[in-house]
Amino acid sequence: MKSRIPVRIADAGVILIVGYFVVHGLTHRAPKVEKDQFAASVDLKPMRDLAIHDVGRIKSFDSYANSMIRSIAGPYGIEGEGPVYAYLDLMLNRDEYRNRKIIYMKKAIRQQVARAMEESGIPVDDVRTFIKDGMISEQQIFEPKVLAELQRMDTDVLRTAKFVNMVNSALMLADPHELSARMRVVPPPDGDQQKPWIAGEDVWGLDFLGDGHAHGAAGPVPGLSPELQKKISEQWSQVATAWKAKNADAASQAIAALAGSLRSVDPTNYPPQDKLSLESWYFRWHAFVWNWIVYIIAVVPLLLSVIYRWRGAYRAGILLVILAFGIHTASLGIRWYLSGRIPNSNMFEAVLAATWFGVLGAFFIEVFVRKTAMRGLFFLGSSVCAMVAMMCQHFMPTTLRSDIDNVMPVLDDVWLYIHTNVIIWSYALIGMAAITALLYLRHRLGGGDPTVAKAGGAGSLILNNAPGKGDSFLREDSATWGQVLDASTMVLMELSFVMLWAGLVMGAIWADHSWGRPWGWDPKEVFALCTFVIFMILLHVRFKVRDKGFWTAVLAVAGCGVMLFNWIVINFKISGLHSYA
């Protein structure tokens, strides 16, 4: 009898990995410092919902501050404080942060920096914490040995310079002058939307920084009435004074008054309050990346439904998938509304949209297969893909940044809607096919039957409704596990085969009129084609080999591996013409 130990080990491994991430995701929080009374009670809502001009976009101050603080302090933010509080406090009380860990370093350079920290006499516990969370203080960075190490790594263009640049950029952004100069919260008084918004410091001056220099009052702002400028200046001065004095009531009042005055500069063209509030709310809800928890909860009844054929579990699974998909759709919809463009033009959005298409596709397919033994498998596959994708977004927020930015000009084309969506939809289907293929391999590893879907995947869907019950081999009462899993893989694989090819052709059409050539052997193109070649091999191998199910599953997983390589390694490590996607 075949040993089942390897299967048990594999099952345990999957459960442990998923369990780790679940526990980690639910329990891991930023190292939080006890909030003082001021931080807890100051009302920042009016500030959060202010509009700010940031590189070609008008966004909510909360959204902007979230992006800035993440660029400085990485995934955890600054001591667990909200981004708006952190931004203002960093600008107004910078000296208090010199010795606080507010700068984030990526893992790639932590070991070298940690060694320099140790040599500088920084306590071992501090160094250990740094290795774990990457947070370091400005004072520690400016230790001569740490600084020398960073300077050394800055010269290594191939390996470390990029990460040192991120540290330099974080230090630059954390400078109060920089924070102040970027705070473009005053709309052009003449309503000209092609003009940049005015930085607050140009209205109220720089004296609030208290940096030891006498800056004097700001000069007159063209188009802004001197009375309004004076009023705004005084209100900002009250904000700064109350903030430094940690007087929450006074600060709250001054912030509310300032927000009102800023709106009154150009009330006609000021962005709608609802939209700004929605943007702030969207980011306060972490761009809904926690939705992976809903998906993982859906996976449990779906698994039970698939394995044990429990109707109750199937229904519960559907309800949970509908809930998760609803949140998923809301997330995409809100991004679309806020950005004013289709949300698939950066990595975060591509991951989100691809898995949304996957789940949408699962709904369609499940309609066809509702009376077959494949029922539930497509929901399961798509939920697992969506769960994994959102876990990546959750656990790698500095890599998959959720900021809403303008689309790159070269991408601003109708083909962004067509080519990109078809390609990422095919990627989602490839991911789902890999899930059913892995289930098949697990089934075979556990000594399961080597049966396969003889009529082919897509064909089997249609044949199910043929007259005469005898020709539907995927009936719940007679289909074997091997047949069901193999058929599911083939359904998904065939769909992705067509869509990937169509997507490649559409991409070539776009490239032809964008770059002047339909095909340039760019790494991204090549690996999309490689994925397709894997599926070409799969289809022909399936014709020829005896153990069709096994080789189909192996090649479906390999195809997914090449697709992921294309999406991750090619995008992040090997640049090419598609480096922005």
Partner: protein, 781 residues
């Protein structure tokens, strides 16, 4: 018992080689193997081979071996290389044979036929496409300005900041220079109010006056002069133009060529000419370093040496009037990533010229490189006198030199007739040793201690100064003296930090000397370093660090007795090389020979062979190399890319930057919505109507496509057009569409046909026995 012994021998019909070949191509397995090989080839050719940087740490940093670059192939070349084209050819043949011989041509198989036919059409069209593909790019400038001065020939200057010309006329010298360009100058008055135009400010210096002429492209009526300090001429003197005789007018700047990607060419012209003549360089490697000898270049330390692997590519003339037509021009070397041409000292000179190179390494991790020439009074010291190199001809002379090392402070107390000289140790400071004891001044009640010294430090606004700080004590009396190298600046400070003139009871004089004195000679093996005091002598071995204390160590890099200087290209260390740089930092070595003598020169890469420096502005590299040939003939050479004529000359009428809300944010393309070039072509003896090209919307001219590639973010003085042909793309598209239709047919139409057939069979066999039914249905499937 052997089976074969009992069975009659099998009688296989003998297969001829043609039949065997046909059988091979008739095999699906052969096709699968070919697909696997194609997959592997594409993977390695595109991504290379990923591997850990350090194999002992498999989870550490990974790196990538770019195989195609090792083979000297670009992406396009790697996928046009014979191994890959052979694989594709075999695969297409295999697919055709299998399709024709094994797949029936009927309704059920129509999908597979369509897929295979589509792929064959795609492959055929791709052969045509890639074999005729030409692509490149070119800058198209917005305008030049024609300068007309009475009594002189008209001249043109390109509209680029900094471009200038001097014109000598009968009235005197005129200088006209482009001062600034504002591509979005708002028109505030007249019927054009509210529009924007490209404004060019031209700095004009005539024999009698200087002014700025402001010109607006396409709005000559708004041209006016501005007098520095007085404003618009119309307001200052009552007329718009100060010098009516000076005529400045805009002219198109046609572009006739584009420059082909991944190619190389040598451009030559006689010195003084503005027209480059092209000599294509065929088969120049793209990535490698090719040298005849390691002595040709400076290699970075710690990197594997470049192995000699010279080139010998003849570069014959292709156009008439080539100034080097009588010379043999060859490319004999190429370097991929060069920092610069550097002059360094090497051994082997004819005369005694002792040279020393050392590194001063600080504990903080910083290193200072020091080079000195003992016999050159301008170069025998470094680091502001901190180090000095002397050469001696005898052991006795060396001892004399040893005594002169270090800083010393002369202290004299006239009242007590005391005079002493004490060393000032540069390594020590009060901060390091705050409890240092006071030392006696023999013959006096005064004691002293050195608090520190500064060498060439910027203190206040007084410029770099050198001084020692010494503390004197006598009983309860205590003060510090700042003893400057220049005695006039010396002063005392009391414990309360009050400043006084130097106390006349104690006279001091500070004599800074080298902190580290290197003494070489009399032989090449004799080198010592005397550090701070005569007693502290160290001998040096090349490459071995010596600790000097105070967080400083010394490493001898090289010493040559007969040094001579050499100028060679210095390779950039690998870790500094930008992988995205392409050929931008490459150089080629060109040898120009005639009658047994030759000149050789390393030429840097230029993205475009621009006519002169003024076109380069701040965006393009421009450094042609002048070579003086035997006989005194002087030519200019430039290494760039091959050029190809555009179907018709193209000029830039205007450039429109479309931005998101808030306008363009310098350095951030996310504030940009689109780049639009408004172009004209010169056809049938006149300029065409304006046509545009922008992102994702190319323009075409006689089969060539122009697409928006780059732009000039500062002044929008030019646009960068991508240029390419696209023969066969429609056939490629037809092939792709046939294939995709075939896929849909195979996966989603064929099962319907099969179902209908099955339904028909079911209808006809309803009355049969179950076993017969099953057989009939199986047949129908």
């Amino acid at each position: 018992m052997n089976d074969s012994a009992t069975r009659p021998a099998a009688t296989h019909p003998r297969r001829g080689p043609l039949r065997a070949l046909l059988d091979l191509f008739n095999s699906v397995w052969f096709g699968i193997i070919l697909m696997v090989l194609i997959f592997l080839y594409m993977t390695v050719a595109s991504a290379g081979i990923l591997h850990p940087l350090d194999w002992s740490k498999p989870f550490g940093t990974w790196t990538r071996l770019v195989v195609r670059q090792r083979l000297g192939l670009t992406e396009m070349e790697a996928f046009a290389w014979w191994p890959f084209t052979t694989l594709l050819t075999l695969f297409i043949i295999n697919m055709c044979v299998v399709t024709i011989r094994r797949i029936r041509f009927n309704a059920l198989s129509a999908g597979v036929w369509a897929i295979h036919t589509g792929i064959v059409i795609l492959a055929g069209a791709s052969v045509y496409y890639f074999s005729t593909k030409m692509e490149g790019d070119t800058p198209v400038f917005r305008r030049s300005i024609v300068v007309e001065v009475p009594g002189a020939a008209p001249e043109r200057i390109i509209v680029q900041p900094g471009a200038a010309t001097n014109i000598q006329s009968v009235a005197g010298n005129y200088r006209v220079a482009i001062q600034s360009i504002n591509p979005t100058w708002p028109l505030l008055s007249g019927e054009d109010a509210g529009k924007t135009a490209c404004s060019v400010n031209v700095q004009v210096t005539t024999p009698s006056q200087s002014f700025i002429r402001q010109m607006l492209i396409n709005y000559p009526q708004y041209t006016e002069d501005i007098i520095p300090g007085q404003g618009r001429a119309i307001k200052a003197v009552g007329r718009k133009l100060l010098d009516e005789d000076l005529k400045l007018s805009f002219a198109y700047e046609p572009q006739n060529y584009f420059y082909l990607q991944d190619t190389a060419a040598l451009y030559v012209r006689e010195l003084g000419s503005s027209v480059w003549l092209e000599r294509p360089i065929e088969h120049l490697p793209h990535y490698s370093n090719n040298i005849a000898s390691r002595n040709e270049i400076w290699q970075p330390e710690g990197e594997p040496p470049v192995e000699p692997n010279p080139l010998d590519i003849a570069v014959p003339p292709t156009t008439e009037g080539d100034p080097l037509a009588d010379y043999d021009v060859r490319v004999t070397g190429r370097l991929h990533y060069v920092e610069s041409l550097e002059s360094r000292w090497v051994a082997g000179g004819a005369q005694l010229n002792p040279f020393l190179a050392v590194d001063l390494e600080y504990d903080s991790g910083t290193t200072e490189h020091v080079e000195m020439l003992a016999l050159d009074s301008n170069k025998n010291t470094d680091k502001d006198g901190l180090t000095e190199f002397r050469w001696v001809n005898s052991a006795e002379a060396r001892q004399d030199q040893v005594a002169s090392v270090g800083n010393s402070l002369d202290i004299s107390i006239p009242a007590e007739n005391v005079q002493v000289t004490v060393p000032v140790n540069e390594f020590e400071s009060f901060q390091q040793n705050p409890d240092a004891p006071f030392l006696p001044i023999t013959g006096s009640a005064w004691t002293y201690r050195i608090r520190g010294m500064a060498r060439n430090e910027q203190i206040g606004n007084a410029g770099p100064v050198t001084l020692a700080v010494v503390e004197f004590q006598n009983g309860a009396e205590n003060f510090r003296r700042f003893v400057f190298e220049n005695d006039g600046q010396s002063h005392d400070r009391t414990a309360d930090n009050e400043v006084h003139k130097p106390d006349p009871r104690i006279v001091t004089h500070f004599r800074p000397g080298p902190m580290i004195l290197f003494i070489g000679g009399p032989t090449a093996n004799d080198l010592i370093a005397v550090v701070n005091t005569p007693n502290n002598q160290v001998s040096l071995t090349t490459g071995k660090p010596v600790q000097l204390g105070g967080g400083l160590s010394l490493r001898l890099k090289a010493m040559f007795t007969n040094a001579r200087i050499e100028n060679r290209p210095a390779l950039t260390p690998l870790r500094f090389q930008d992988p995205q740089a392409g050929s931008q930092r490459s150089r080629i070595k060109v040898e120009i020979g005639k009658d047994g003598s030759s000149n050789s020169v390393w030429l840097p890469y230029h993205h475009y062979p621009l006519p002169d420096r003024q076109y380069a502005g701040n965006r393009f590299f421009y450094a042609p190399t002048t070579v003086t040939l035997p006989g005194g003939k002087r030519v200019e050479l430039m290494y760039s890319r091959k050029r190809w004529p555009l179907p018709s000359a193209v000029t830039l009428e205007d450039f429109d930057l479309k931005t998101h809300v808030g306008g363009f944010v310098q350095g951030n393309t996310q504030s940009v919505r689109d780049f639009v070039s408004l172009l004209r072509s010169y056809r049938d003896g006149k300029w065409s109507d304006v046509y545009t090209t922008s992102l994702n919307k190319p323009a075409s001219d006689q089969g060539w496509y122009y697409f928006q590639a780059t732009w000039d973010p500062g002044t929008m003085a030019y646009t960068g057009l991508g240029v390419g042909n696209r023969n066969g793309v429609h056939a490629q598209l037809v092939g792709c569409c046939i294939a995709v239709l075939g896929m849909i047919y195979v996966f989603y139409v064929k099962p319907i046909i099969k179902r209908r057939r099955r339904q028909a069979v079911w209808a006809s066999v309803k009355t049969q026995e179950p076993a017969e039914q099953r057989e009939a249905v199986a047949t129908a499937s």
